[in-house]
Symmetry: C2
Subunit: 332 residues, 2 copies
């Protein structure tokens, strides 16, 4: 395999050079073809960090809460990476100057590394490179990685796929938002935070949550998550939130669930990569991509089923195992 | 290929027997392995219907609007299928008795066929069988198929994949909801309906929409969609809405975009089916599923990169084209 990331860059990265970290994140974010190289180089530093998704509707104060959580975790002795994928997040430059200035309090802090990523175009989902960026941060020595994402649309499912814990952030009087969110993320949250608890209406959101849990909507999947209240602006409830998250992180690591999640993600990654290899080989052999385009056009025009073509295509191809010696060292 | 759907059932279905239609929908919904058989039998009846997604936050009156739209389209000479996948929809039995009774006004109407589907578990997404159920309805002769789905979470993306037009339903004072939805569905809507226009706050939602469009958030993707106001309860604005939708349907069909969408979906279906064949053959040959499980466990334990294993797996397999004569009629 041709290596394309310079040795010097890796050396600086492993020595803790933040600029080198920034450059590797940029590679992870934009160069999908370099991912195998990144994984190979970082592998022996991965597996211990806890990745925490911070999600919730826009405007509930996720970014402020995330930065205060990062500071709290750093004070507790952790090195903290932040990946912000919320398009409305001040991290991503999407919001009010006051917020952004507040976030920049983190900039000089060597215990924390923050990076905002572009959201997947038009869908508000996580960037597909989010797990790769988290790998770089974990390889850089971060043992807590906070992934901030807006908790609607595709992002709510993406964030479940690439994090070990999910914190859902709400605010007083987000009764409506709970309605629209209940189909997905609430069942998946490991911890619910009602932020801005200084504002009126805290009881509304707490009652809505009690109602949902009382209906048994979530119990089938996992136990009712703890619900905490904070006021990030007034710095209230933060130490308790950090402590609760650390408790959840300990249980996750000690129970083996953390390793189970990593294993499941590793399996999926291998399966998808091999499947992609098979398709690439098939496409190279048969010119399938072009052929399928033409066939689809014809089938739609003639109003015919695709299955005769699918069956014929499948019957005309064989997957064959090669001798280990014959193939050793050659890519498919 | 072994046929498993009885000839009698097909015969009754093609004669317009609604009970036979119900039974085939149940097969489409629950028996993924029968899909090729369904597609083969229905193919020559597919390709002309317009599939319209009706989406939006819970509580905006999508179901009432959908049933009135169906009646309006039936009056205009169409045969209308309704697929309801919103877990909170009265179609799905999820809401108030009054609504449900109102929906049942459709029951005796031979021009309309309604079916509610279970939502994909826990995620609020469309049932993966939704397109197959729509195929059955189209094969039954329906030329307008309304797919009602709650416009949050995974569903908003699923609905884009399987419909030709998307109607986003809002209500006055859903300013908050627009905030949470803007990342996905608003850009994709072909038509926005502000329902319950008799309620106060209509201007709030209209202004929010103008603000979003004014920011150019959506223009990159396609032109600003028409925004209409209705009051389904007071039966206002419905004829205009039906007329506007029919206009969009005509443009869709005449411009060739309808065929383009069908073709793109056909291509994706073929690619995924062949890819699945390749994987099944590979798995049968190498026992990959089990082997990958064990390998992932080992790699996570040892903190190693999966890529050496992926590269070796890919290098040890070859995809081979078979002679047409030798393989004709045999599955892979």
């Amino acid at each position: 395999m041709k290596k394309s990331i310079p040795e010097d860059l890796w050396k600086a990265f492993f020595q803790g050079d933040r600029l080198a970290c920034a450059r590797l994140i940029t590679i992870a974010e934009n160069r999908k073809e370099r991912v195998p190289e990144l994984r190979d180089a970082l592998a022996n530093r991965l597996g211990r960090a806890v990745r925490i998704g911070i999600t919730g509707p826009p405007g509930v104060g996720k970014s402020t809460l995330t930065s205060l959580l990062a500071l709290g975790m750093a004070d507790a002795g952790h090195k903290v990476g932040i990946v912000a994928v919320d398009p409305s997040s001040p991290f991503s430059g999407g919001a009010f100057m006051g917020d952004r200035v507040r976030m920049e309090g983190l900039v000089g802090d060597q215990r924390i590394y923050m990076r905002s990523l572009a959201s997947r175009e038009g869908h508000g989902g996580l960037s597909p490179s989010t797990p790769d960026v988290a790998d770089v941060l974990e390889g850089f020595g971060m043992d807590r990685i906070l992934i901030e994402t807006v908790g609607v649309g595709q992002a709510e499912l993406d964030v479940l796929e690439c994090t070990d814990l999910v914190v859902l952030v709400l605010q007083p009087s987000t009764g409506d938002a709970i309605q629209t969110m209940k189909a997905g993320i609430i069942e998946a949250a490991d911890l619910i935070v009602v932020n801005k608890a200084d504002l009126p209406g805290k009881d509304v959101v707490l009652n809505s949550l009690r109602f949902l849990f009382g209906m048994g909507l979530t119990k089938k999947i996992r136990p009712v998550p703890p619900v905490m209240t904070t006021s990030a602006m007034q710095n209230e409830g933060l130490p308790e939130l950090v402590a609760e998250l650390e408790k959840l992180a300990s249980v996750l690591l000690d129970s083996g669930r953390h390793a189970d999640l990593r294993r499941a993600r590793m399996e999926k990654e291998i399966r998808e990569a091999i499947s992609q290899c098979l398709w690439t080989a098939y496409d190279g052999l048969t010119g399938a991509t072009k052929c399928i385009q033409e066939k689809a056009r014809e089938l739609v025009e003639k109003a015919e089923s695709p299955y005769p073509f699918i069956r014929e295509s499948c019957s005309r191809v064989r997957v064959q195992a090669l001798d280990k010696e014959a193939s050793n060292g050659h890519g498919a």
